[in-house]
């Protein structure tokens, strides 16, 4: 492990250009200033606004004294602080147990101005106070007209709040437990609309559509037409509900927004967007998919990373051995050098329409990028290929449309006798001595004997199939390389005169034996980074982790300590520090690669606590926000 640090002045990229800062007017504090820590922001209302419009909003949070700036990760939005006041304290019996003893909640009044040219989509917003930088909340810029919920109570179909013409972005709040919000709108026959709700981490919203037709029992009874709660929960998927519906007849309809299980309160604002289905599909995916960076983070073991014909080239970029070796190099030839094969365009083999019979499996040569679809329940696509003794292959799987847990690609490699050689199912015996199985998007294998092998691709169930169950499977020689590098911290608030440790985990893929040099670029004046050790708690030994080496990368842990000198000047705005990594093999240095952009602030010693990681709520927010910025 190597370490270097570079002062901010030497970092020439225009990071700050992408950061919009709005300086606050001096404000009287409603309570005695308490700058004992960074701010905590709970919610925002409204959750965004229309291009070209100015509007007022409120940021709800704690430790907002002295808040003078909001920080956005992309341009087009400005915010001006209008005032800060303490929220009326709830009665003790109404206070959630988790809030007991917490600082009082404050309301920061803001005026937002969205540029007419601001790109529609979500962006991150943070508060800056003398105590440092907060975690992010998502702010949505939309093109359609906005509508602010106006009725204090419209939680019965008969009380639905009428909406103007769509497309529309409705900003509302589920203000108390069990509250639901009904809205009325009109459509023409045959119209197909798309409804979606965006909310904050504490919320889990659902959308329902109704026809206010009444029933024999009650003229106010609405007949439910459709419902969406996005029940699929998976790390890479959004849980925000989206509902598409084609209206068979013209008329007045109702849309209802509700919290899953009826949660509600002041931190449950939402944005309901109604648009013609096709229009929304064309709209923005994200303006800040990379968090405002100009590079894409490397994703290794993910079902949705893109597997292209240039995959080998991308892998080479994460190694350190320049001598290009032929693609068809044998394992013995590779063994001495750990060198990657020379990049070649990998041929794409289309498997749709290929015969289903095992005996008619298509013959391919490696490397190959297999593209196909599980067309019907029980469909199995097969290819045959030859391998030599010692050949090391990696199999990577991408699910470009439906993904886990809806589509669960199951790969099985069998030899000429039909004996199983390899699958992408990792079995372990967990602490309860139950067998636990996981499918993996990547698996590696070394052939102990030569022969002809067949790779079967299917859904692990025999119950599903269809156009959405598309896959891309890359079979290629292994390339020992630097994998993903994980850094939990989202932002850092460094206190002058104190040191803050930061932990990193580096993945070594495909028997990568080299080192990974880590460095930080863009550190502000007075801040240095040094390598450090860190005590790790002893993990209980796993009962039986199965053939772990096939399915998961090896990992190493590293620690950095960021030291802010006692005289380090406080940073008025966050500095973007770039975490960089560089593979090192046998004395050769590989390409310097960005790992993460870290927002860093130096605060005065009065701010005695530092925030080095997200608390659970913040972490949920961050994860959700990451999902949100993924394309639909």
């Amino acid at each position: 492990m190597a370490l270097s640090s570079k002062p901010a002045g030497s970092f020439s990229r225009g990071w700050m250009v992408t950061v919009l800062l709005v300086l606050l007017q001096p404000l009287p504090c409603p309570a005695e200033a308490d700058t004992s820590g960074p701010p905590e922001i709970l919610s925002l209302f409204p959750l965004g606004g229309r291009q070209g419009e100015a509007f007022q909003g409120t940021l709800r949070g704690r430790g907002l004294e002295g808040a003078r700036q909001l920080w956005f990760d992309s341009g087009g939005v400005r915010a001006t602080v209008l005032g800060l006041r303490n929220e009326e304290a709830p009665k003790p019996e109404e206070t959630p147990r988790s809030d007991a003893g917490a600082k009082p909640v404050q309301l920061l009044s803001l005026r937002f101005q969205v540029d007419p040219t601001a790109q529609p989509g979500p962006r991150s917003l943070r508060a800056i106070t003398p105590g440092g930088l907060s975690h992010p909340l998502t702010f949505h810029v939309h093109a359609e007209p906005g509508h602010l919920e106006s009725r204090p109570s419209h939680d019965l179909a008969s009380e639905a709040e009428p909406l103007p013409e769509w497309p529309l972005a409705v900003h509302g709040t589920i203000g108390r437990p069990a509250e639901v919000d009904y809205y009325a709108f009109s459509v023409s026959e045959g119209e197909r609309l798309r409804f979606e709700v965006r909310s904050l981490a504490l919320s889990d919203m659902a959308i329902s559509l109704y026809e206010p037709a009444g029933s024999w029992f009650s003229p106010h009874r609405a007949r439910r037409l459709a419902f969406s709660d996005e029940p699929v929960a998976y790390p890479e998927l959004s849980t925000e509900p989206v509902l598409r519906y084609r209206f068979g007849k013209s008329g007045r309809y109702l849309v209802r927004v509700s919290g899953f299980l009826g949660e509600g309160g002041p931190d449950h604002p939402y944005l309901l967007r109604i648009a013609r289905d096709a229009e929304r599909d064309k709209e923005e995916a994200s303006v800040s998919a990379s968090g405002g960076s100009d590079w894409e983070p490397w994703r290794e073991r993910s079902w949705t990373r893109k597997l292209g014909t240039d995959r080998m080239e991308a892998l080479r970029a994460r190694t350190a051995l320049p001598p290009a070796t032929p693609m068809k190099q044998s394992a013995e030839e590779q063994a001495g050098t750990q060198g990657p094969p020379a990049p070649e365009a990998i041929p794409v083999i289309e498997l749709d329409g290929a015969p289903d019979e095992a005996s008619e499996a298509m013959e391919v040569t490696l490397p190959a990028l297999l593209a196909g679809t599980i067309e019907h329940p029980g469909d199995i696509d097969r290819v045959r290929f030859a391998a030599k003794v010692g050949d090391r292959v990696a199999l990577e799987i991408e699910t470009p449309r439906a993904t886990v847990p809806i589509f669960n690609p199951y790969l099985k490699m069998v030899d000429a006798e039909g004996a199983e050689v390899l699958t992408n199912v990792h079995s372990i015996l967990n602490a309860n001595t139950e067998i636990e199985k996981q499918i993996r998007p990547k698996v590696i294998h070394s052939f102990p004997r030569a022969g002809e092998f067949t790779l079967e691709i299917r859904d692990i169930t025999a119950a599903f199939g269809g156009p959405s169950m598309a896959y891309r499977v890359l079979i290629r020689p292994q390339v020992p390389h630097m994998g993903q590098i994980h850094l939990e911290e989202d932002h850092l608030n460094l206190v002058a005169g104190r040191a803050t440790p930061v932990s990193l985990v580096t993945d070594q893929e495909e028997h990568f034996e080299g080192s990974i040099a880590l460095s930080l670029e863009g550190l502000p004046p007075g801040v240095t980074a040094v390598a450090a050790t860190r005590a790790e708690p002893d993990a209980p030994p796993a009962v039986n982790e199965g053939r772990k080496e096939r399915y998961v990368s090896r990992s190493r842990k590293a620690s950095l300590v960021l030291v802010a000198a006692a005289d380090a000047p406080p940073t008025p705005v966050p500095v973007v520090v770039k975490v960089m990594a560089q593979p090192v093999v046998e004395g050769r240095m590989g390409r310097m690669t960005p790992v993460k952009d870290l927002l860093l602030m130096v605060v005065a010693p009065a701010a005695i606590s530092t925030r080095t990681a997200l608390n659970p709520v913040e972490k949920t927010v961050a994860e959700r926000d990451n999902r949100r910025v993924s394309p639909d």
Partner: protein, 857 residues
């Protein structure tokens, strides 16, 4: 409680309906004693022929007289018997014929002016019957109840001694008696001490005799009187060395079944009838087994029997008579009437349901109640189809509507209502066990499962498709969440047992440890079915767990040692069991499918599925199944109306397993629309649908009804979001609309029987002290009476008169107008109460705590 409440009259339970019964001309009839001989139409003997083999072989005959109107009466004890050739046979006690010499003769019988005869053939009359353990000793043990499931034929036997039920496995029984040893449930090994239960040197010292005769302590009490013929027969057998058979006993034909005559019969209170049991032998012959079987009346207050099979009618009603012997069990259904109806009327019928129900009622001499009045029908059909009572305005409208088709039209309106979707989603969510359990909480799963059910009801998906999807559920599909109630898959045997119980109405559970004691289900069959679930796995961790069946039936990625993981092992043999359907068909992993999917198709296409389904749904409309309990189909729990069950099932299947079609068929039937008012003939009947039976409302329905009548909705908070702040169901949510009912706190629902759904819910509508206390002081009953928006409060505020308020409350609570006398009495009571407000509160309380309100009738 106020004076008014204490003085309120008992809310009358349909008094006008009861009073009105006798005024309905269509059902007028005359009843009286047995008809005279002038009404006698024919006479017959049962059986009409017999063959008596061996010395002293005998046959019991029954003489059946048929009177005008089709009624049959057993006149055996009053008929005159004679034999054409006394050298061939002789007469024994009433109706019994005993072999005398080889040949053929006629048994002749005379009753009143009619005669009948039966052929009697006698062979081998000089030879004593060869001895077989099965026929002689096994029969004694059966008759004496020793091999009853409650005694030595129980799962564990008794005192280490185990017999097969009804001597189904005589050789095995014989070995336990003669060789001795202690029975052990989970192994074929005999436990110590291995001491014979017979003593051939001193027969009377045999445990086999000393225990049942109480010479030594016997938990089963006195079963065999010392000196009785049976005692002596056993003693003699032991004295002869306790052989399994003697002579050519081993060559005797085997019993392959039993028949009982009559299978269905009717007796007048105080009358009697002889049952005749015939064994069907493997050589095609038949043999009188009446004296070799055990009789048992399931409703002993209705009919009782002696050991010889003579039924005595005690009280009006119906009883199943179980006949057990030679390993078999058959049944006779005996009805008892108080008096005969001489001119049974023709009954109007709406569809085949009425054909079947009324045919049996006629046979059993029971007159159905009259057709329900509009008010009674309206309330019942609304509750049964939508789980809610009709609003007062709709009651007025319906009662005033002169349209003769208004019932049919109302049924269609209800079937198409959103309330129908709410209610049947609730019913199916109960049956399918949608819940968020305190362990392994994942409300997302249960909600998607609930939504799947709701969608099926709303779109009226064929029930067989719903069932197939549930049974074969895989992946992350909503139905697959059924298999993950606790984040881990239940054991295969549990999953299988539930699917068979829910969708085939059978309980195989007993066969898990041993062959089913009552049924033909074997342990092999049980584990063969369980094996369909043996290759199921959970993939991934919460919350993205996926359910799948290991492709090819082989271990997927056996990275860790799991030698038995995918194999279901027979608990006694330790051998791997292949997925095998109940009919013995093995299903292998070949082709794109998977065995559990094949099993799902098999289940839903099996006649059991349609039968079990219609039976279950029928029970929601009538308070009991044609087979009851609804998921306990077995030979000794037969349907009350087998032909009706068959026709309902056929109709259901023929119409695409359409639940709305089934419900329409039921609701339109005259049977369903009968009044709950009793008449003289059906007062004791609870099995034949001769009247509507009152049923307590289930907790959720009752709570919703209280909210509707009082006008004050319930609020439901939940406990899942303590960290985020309390959650809850939206304002106006009805109890039947709660998606994951178990997360919403409700003292009322808990008190009144909301099931926890840990297992297939069985609701208990019986009263108890807690419920009684809740009626008196519970918040649900008392806090809704007088609040802003409460019905009676708003009427009071609006200046309604007492009579108007009484009428409105009656319409809302009972779906009927109050009678003039009720109005008069209530007005008087209200006037006498110092506080009118208090009087009206009390009135409302009295109505919603009354039986008329709390029951569906």
């Amino acid at each position: 409680m106020s004076k008014l409440v204490s003085r309120l009259p008992q809310i009358p339970m349909l008094p006008t309906l009861v009073a009105g019964f006798l005024l309905i001309p269509a059902l007028q009839s005359t009843a009286g004693p047995e008809p005279s001989s002038s009404d006698l139409l024919s006479l017959r003997l049962a059986p009409d022929k017999t063959t008596l083999r061996w010395k002293d072989a005998s046959q019991q005959f029954s003489v059946v007289a048929t009177f005008a109107g089709g009624r049959e009466t057993d006149v055996t004890s009053r008929a005159e018997f004679s034999l054409a050739d006394p050298a061939v046979a002789r007469l024994g006690s009433a109706g019994r014929v005993v072999a005398a010499g080889d040949g053929q003769t006629w048994l002749k019988v005379t009753f009143a002016s009619l005669k009948a005869q039966a052929s009697v053939v006698v062979v081998d009359s000089a030879r004593p019957p060869p001895f077989t353990y099965e026929k002689e000793i096994g029969a004694i043990l059966t008759r004496r109840g020793c091999n009853d499931v409650a005694c030595h034929a129980g799962v564990k036997g008794q005192g280490g001694f185990r017999l097969s039920i009804n001597a189904a496995h005589p050789r095995q029984d014989y070995d336990w008696i003669v060789e001795g040893g202690v029975f052990q449930v989970l192994t074929d090994e005999r436990g110590e001490p291995i001491v014979p239960r017979v003593d051939t040197e001193a027969p009377e010292s045999s445990l086999l005799l000393r225990k049942p005769s109480l010479e030594v302590a016997h938990g089963g009490g006195l079963r065999l009187e010392k000196g009785s013929a049976d005692y002596q027969a056993i003693a003699n057998w032991i004295g002869r060395g306790a052989p399994y058979h003697e002579g050519n006993g081993g060559d005797l034909p085997k019993v392959e079944g039993l028949e009982v005559f009559p299978r269905e019969g009717l007796l007048q209170e105080g009358g009697s009838r002889q049952l005749i049991v015939t064994a069907l032998l493997s050589d095609g012959t038949r043999e009188d087994y009446t004296h070799r079987v055990r009789f048992e009346s399931k409703q002993q207050e209705v009919a009782e029997l002696d050991r010889q099979g003579l039924v005595r009618a005690l009280n009006p009603g119906e009883s199943n008579i179980l006949v057990r012997g030679a390993g078999y069990e058959v049944q006779s259904r005996i009805g008892v009437v108080a008096e005969w109806i001489h001119d049974y009327p023709e009954l109007p019928r709406a569809n085949f349901i009425d054909d079947e129900v009324f045919a049996k009622l006629r046979k059993f001499n029971i007159l159905p109640s009259r057709r329900s009045g509009d008010a009674e029908f309206l309330r019942r059909v609304c509750l049964d189809l939508t789980g809610r009572m009709p609003p007062a305005g709709r009651v007025r409208e319906f009662l005033a509507d002169p349209d003769p088709q208004k019932r049919e039209k109302l049924i269609e309106v209800l079937l198409d209502s959103p309330e129908f979707v709410d209610y049947w989603t609730f019913r199916l969510a109960d049956l399918f066990r949608v819940a968020v359990f305190p362990v392994g909480i994942n409300p997302k799963w249960s909600q998607s499962y609930w939504e799947w059910i709701r969608d099926a009801v709303a779109r009226n998906r064929p029930y067989d498709r719903v069932a197939e999807e549930r049974i074969s559920a895989q992946g992350y599909s909503p139905a697959s969440r059924h298999y993950l109630p606790y984040l881990v898959l239940p054991p295969p045997e549990n999953m299988m047992g539930e699917e068979i119980r829910v969708f085939m109405g059978r309980r195989l559970d007993c066969a898990q440890c041993h062959d089913h004691p009552y049924e033909r289900w074997t342990q092999d069959q049980f584990w063969g079915m369980a094996a369909f679930f043996g290759s199921m796995f959970r993939l991934g961790a919460n919350p993205e767990s996926v359910v799948f069946d290991s492709p090819d039936g082989r271990e997927v990625a056996a990275d860790v040692p799991s030698p038995t993981e995918l194999r279901v092992l027979h608990p006694r043999t330790g051998q791997e069991v292949a997925p095998t359907l109940l009919n013995g068909t093995r299903v292998a992993f070949d082709g794109p499918g998977f065995p559990r999917g094949e099993m799902a198709k098999w289940i839903t296409s099996h006649p059991y599925f349609a039968e079990a389904s219609v039976n279950r749904f029928w029970s929601y409309f009538f308070g009991r199944g044609i087979v009851d309990p609804v998921d306990d189909f077995r030979s000794n729990n037969p349907p009350t109306h087998p032909e009706l069950l068959r026709r309902l099932a056929e109709d259901f299947a023929r119409n695409g397993y359409d639940l709305r079609h089934l419900f329409r068929r039921i609701a339109r039937s005259r049977t369903y629309q009968l009044s709950s008012a009793v008449n003289r003939t059906n007062r004791a009947d609870r099995l034949n649908y001769s009247r509507a039976l009152s049923r307590p409302l289930d907790a959720e329905i009752l709570l919703d009804a209280i909210c509707d009548v009082t006008g004050v909705p319930e609020t439901y908070g939940n406990w899942l979001h303590k960290k985020k702040g309390r959650g809850g169901a939206p304002r106006g949510t009805r109890a039947v609309q709660l998606k994951e009912t178990d997360i919403y706190q409700s003292t009322f629902l808990d008190t009144f029987g909301r099931p926890n759904r840990f297992s297939i819910p069985e609701r208990d509508g019986k009263s108890n002290l807690t419920r009684a206390l809740h009626l008196l002081v519970g918040s649900t009953y008392n806090e809704k009476l007088w609040a802003e928006g409460a019905r009676v409060y708003e009427l009071f505020k609006g200046g309604a008169s007492d009579a108007e308020i009484v009428e409105e409350l009656y319409l809302a609570a009972f779906s009927r107008f109050p009678t003039p006398s009720e109005v008069e009495e209530l007005e008087r009571l209200i006037a006498q109460t110092p506080s009118r407000e208090q009087a009206l509160r009390d009135l409302q309380w009295a109505l919603i705590t009354s039986r008329e309100f709390a029951e569906n009738h």
